[in-house]
Symmetry: C2
Subunit: 388 residues, 2 copies
Amino acid sequence: MNLHKTPVMPVGFQCASVNCGLKDKGTDLSLFISDVTANAAAVFTQNQFPGAPVILGREIIKKGKLRGIVVNSKVSNVGTGEQGVENARKMGLALAREFSIDPGEVLMSSTGVIAKPLPIEKIEKGIIGIGKHLSSDPLVGAQGIMTTDSYPKALSLSVGNATLTMVAKGSGMIEPNMATMLVYIFTDADLDSKTLDTCLRTAVDTSFNMLSVDTDTSTSDTCVILANGHKGSVDKTAFSKALDFACIEMTQMLARDGEGATKLLTAEVNNAFSRNEARFMAKALINSPLIKTMAFGADPNIGRILMALGKCFDCHVEPPKIEVSINGTLVYKDQMRVDFDEKKVRLLLSGDRVAISVNLNAGHDMAMAYGCDLTQGYIEENASYYSS
Amino acid sequence: MNLHKTPVMPVGFQCASVNCGLKDKGTDLSLFISDVTANAAAVFTQNQFPGAPVILGREIIKKGKLRGIVVNSKVSNVGTGEQGVENARKMGLALAREFSIDPGEVLMSSTGVIAKPLPIEKIEKGIIGIGKHLSSDPLVGAQGIMTTDSYPKALSLSVGNATLTMVAKGSGMIEPNMATMLVYIFTDADLDSKTLDTCLRTAVDTSFNMLSVDTDTSTSDTCVILANGHKGSVDKTAFSKALDFACIEMTQMLARDGEGATKLLTAEVNNAFSRNEARFMAKALINSPLIKTMAFGADPNIGRILMALGKCFDCHVEPPKIEVSINGTLVYKDQMRVDFDEKKVRLLLSGDRVAISVNLNAGHDMAMAYGCDLTQGYIEENASYYSS
């Protein structure tokens, strides 16, 4: 499967972004809109302090229909009580008014600092006239939803005659559970909302749910898919496969652009006792600060991989059976460090992807997790995020 | 309870440390010895890749008797197979030979890089004549067991006529489970090994087991207590309380001296649904990289505290009931950020202890966890630990 060189919104979808005064520079308010009502499905954060847009979003998505999505960055509208829910509702209403559409078919998202009131007046004003800026370039919409992301993220690919396009943001407070940061997926294929829901949950399970930048699960994670049908029906299996592929590609983009990250860190756990154990251990590997700093320093300190497997107390870990490879080079086997070429492994670790692979020889299940290295940049970005 | 101004080994205990050639400078080999056989108890790491000394230690401690402890730093003797166990045995034998004591009463520990062979010849040579350096200053023994610790750690206090003295190291790869990094506790009180075991497990449960520097559980965690009886019997309850107090003091010393740390970070969770939930949430708070960087930056980004509570998916977290304080100042209540004096909170966060307190109003259990901030220093120390 190949991504398009230049991402584009599918037929009937457009987006826009403006600055409404939340950020000093750059756009801070985006919208995504379909010219007809689209079938839709969504998954949200499992954090028990969900943001107001997530609380409303869970209700809105029940009908399986959406026309518009409105998103602001800088302030997340989380931990803001009743007033926060009211403000989220106002944000959706403003978009519905601007485009004369059903407010029940507008999803809203907010991302940024938690526990600060949403400046709703600025957002309402910003929405007025936003229709003049509509574009079919998804990167325009991706721009306005960025927080600490270093570049806007969008991708497109083809499924039969139809196009599948994804816009996302990530960067920090990222270990999604049942959903991810903000991901918006658009297709002009004709698919009902139940099929979309099944495909979305399957894809998210092996992609965004296996991503972690910093073990911290956001209060605003939202992943939504819209299908407006303009290009007619597509093969469901082909669509599901394309969606899986696109979600994994986007997961890797989000991991690589994690706060302060300089490289992608992946962990593959093979021949695990169960799928759940494989997933748990793969996550333990990419979340270990000692493995993350080892990846950053390109330091072949393979003992840390053993440590991280061993701290999975409830998993089937039998040291005599375990084999470990780094970027394809076997480094540990038969309870001993393999006498590998350290200079070569150091070189492999210096690249833009560190791939740890573990063979547990304990069963037949596998999992793959996606993360990034831990660097001074993460500390710098997060020591004063609130104030900056 | 008060710590002695200067720690001292209890009557009948002595220690020493020398450089046996593992480190370029400083001592790298320590011993602790009692003039008579002491009653003893120990707890070890639950990591499923235990080091060779832990594998042997579990056997040795079964008799509840110890006379000597020998410890090297720089190489941990973990992930070293059969040869590693053989080398650990040789290390104990060398100490037994030097002091003409029963090798079954010698415990050995190793700490440092994982998956490198133990240089046993250097250690055996180092042990010869080490008896000439015996001292009653526990800081001498503490010196030789340091890895990335910035200073040697020891403390003493009185229980009745007896003295209770603790020597420890910590710093990185620290989220002990059922035990901690390396902690050696000595007393001249007369206590049987079963009582020691009960007291030790109780104390460890609320101290070292509630400590985390970086969520990574070491493969070598060992906590052992020796009582040689020279000062006769003591009140068991008083001893247990003194041990609890000493373990919490040492836990705080280890947290403050976590790799790269500039301050102690504590989290108290009150009125939780259960003790396990309180412990889980307190750990989630001190382990959150976003809270740790916020503590470092003295940035009152209180939303991160809500996020960390909310990501405890299986705990009873009801946003409307939750109150949050930072160093005694209420910052969140009634689903809203309290209008606190931000300058004052920023000043509180700038001190050498950041204390988060949460009232869940969900039950009657509480827990306290101990950690530290996350700084550039942690990255620097761990990006090239193996090579340096």
